[in-house]
């Protein structure tokens, strides 16, 4: 366990840092509640006209929206601003001075950052959308619990994998930022890509049917679409297991790519003298 200490420390330090910004957290929460409400109203409007055309029920769509808001911080749609700053000030070179596996260190830090931002928000969102709404009689618009025992059990690995996949994507993006010294450029590409293809903008099945096979297989599907559909049992049994496999597979691929990229960058820094 001693060998894991530096990574745990990195995770914990980042986590604690994010907890300090209370006012920002509350403001963000209010924004997200509002945002969630608007998206639900949009869905409701469309469902009101032609519910038959929808691939999932309105209740499931609503749960999808609330889940998405609660876990938004786990979505790798913007590169870690600290990396951008470290790159600008030249602090990136200091990572080479630490007796650590650079990729592992960045991965642990990113996980800490994401989870610290996600967990408080998820807890608040659960309180507001999961508990408060049914209490005031708006149960139809609430965040529903998972659909059955199987769904609950399958959601746990799905959640873990979506977090790991998200961190892998983000670390890879951060490495590209560090290597190219261009944070804004990476964000400009990363954000629309992730938001559309993860299913964050709309559940993937809402896009034209012809695109479905591609959309279900691409790496970002495991960030939102697959785990959420497992949650309300739209993906069940064998299909759910396939989804988990897809998440795991892409996570491994992206971690592999990340490690390669990190090695190359570190070697280049060494040759250039940092």
């Amino acid at each position: 366990m001693d060998s894991a200490r530096p990574y745990l420390a990195a995770f914990r330090a980042r986590f604690q840092l994010m907890l300090q910004y209370r006012a920002a957290a509350l403001a963000g929460f209010a924004t997200q509640c509002w945002w969630g409400a608007i998206r639900i109203m949009v869905f409701a409007a469309f469902y009101g006209v032609n519910a038959a055309a929808a691939p999932i029920s309105l209740a499931d769509a609503i749960t999808y929206v609330w889940l998405g808001q609660a876990l938004l911080a786990l979505l790798p749609w913007v590169a870690d601003p600290e990396i951008g700053q470290a790159v600008r000030t030249g602090g990136v070179g200091y990572d080479r001075l630490r007796p650590l596996d650079a990729y592992g260190y960045w991965y642990a830090r990113t996980l800490g950052w994401m989870l610290a931002r996600a967990l408080p928000r998820a807890a608040l969102m659960l309180l507001a959308a999961g508990i408060l709404l049914p209490l005031v009689g708006l149960g139809d618009w609430a965040w529903r619990p998972p659909s059955g025992l199987a769904a609950t059990l399958l959601f746990i690995p799905a959640f873990v994998l979506m977090t790991m996949l998200g961190a892998a994507v983000l670390v890879l993006a951060n490495i590209v930022v560090a290597a190219s010294l261009n944070e804004r450029g990476v964000n400009a590409i990363l954000t629309p890509l992730v938001i559309v293809f993860s299913g964050s903008l709309l559940p993937l099945d809402f896009y034209p049917d012809a695109l479905r096979p591609f959309l279900h297989l691409q790496p970002f599907a495991g960030l939102v679409d697959i785990p959420f559909r497992i949650y309300f049992a739209d993906l069940a049994g064998g299909a759910a297991l396939q989804g988990l496999a897809l998440q795991a597979g892409w996570t491994l691929v992206l971690i592999g790519l990340g490690r390669l990229a990190m090695e190359r960058m570190m070697r280049r820094l060494e040759m250039q003298g940092g």
């Binding site: 945002w35 608007i38 998206r39 639900i40 109203m41 949009v42 409701a44 409007a45 469309f46 469902y47 009101g48 006209v49 032609n50 055309a53 929808a54 261009n182 804004r184 450029g185 964000n187 400009a188 590409i189 954000t191 629309p192 938001i195 559309v196 903008l201 709309l202 809402f206 896009y207 034209p208």
Partner: protein, 173 residues
């Protein structure tokens, strides 16, 4: 130099700084255009699947969207100083320097960093506007332009064929 002229100077300074990195600026603008385009993509997917909602067709929603986004992108272009006030000014101590200048702090913040890349959204909204105009029977006479500039809500009301009350959430996200 009076406030307006100084504001102009600030804007010119910011643009000159960005002009030193033409490739990056262009790429950022293109990126921002793509990033904002996903919004209309989502709207299109929904209309494509479900059909018109509450008397609004995709074309009409797109028109409304385009007008709102044109206004928003201009406001976004000009308000960067206030947006990053916490991170770029207070936290770094740069706000001290703002206060040490014999000018209103608001003026200095307003003139800070006019980001050309935000024109990406303006570009995208303009394209959507052209698209919408082809989908919806609307003639851009002087009156229509005037209303569009002054109030998108009013303009869209005039264009709505089935003028029932505007449904909730039809304001595109």
């Amino acid at each position: 130099m009076n406030a307006v002229a100084l504001y102009g100077r600030y804007v010119a300074t910011s643009l000159r700084a960005q002009a030193q990195y033409p490739a990056a600026t262009l790429m950022l603008t293109a990126g921002h255009c793509a990033a904002t385009a996903i919004e209309i993509l989502g709207v299109f997917a929904l209309f494509d699947r479900f059909g018109p909602v509450g008397g609004w067709s995709f074309g009409e929603a797109a028109l409304f969207y385009a007008l709102v986004n044109i206004m928003f992108s201009i406001a976004d272009l000009l308000s960067r100083g206030f947006e990053v006030f916490g991170t770029d000014f207070v936290r770094t101590g740069a706000f001290d320097r703002v206060l040490l200048r014999p000018r209103a702090a608001a003026l200095q913040l307003a003139g800070y960093e006019v980001r050309l890349s935000r024109l990406g959204r303006l570009l995208q909204a303009s394209v959507v506007l052209i698209l919408a105009t082809s989908l919806v029977p609307i003639t851009w006479d002087a009156a229509a332009v005037a209303t569009a500039v002054c109030s998108p809500t009013v303009a869209s009301r005039r264009r709505s064929i089935h003028s029932t009350s505007t449904p909730p959430g039809s304001g595109v996200c």
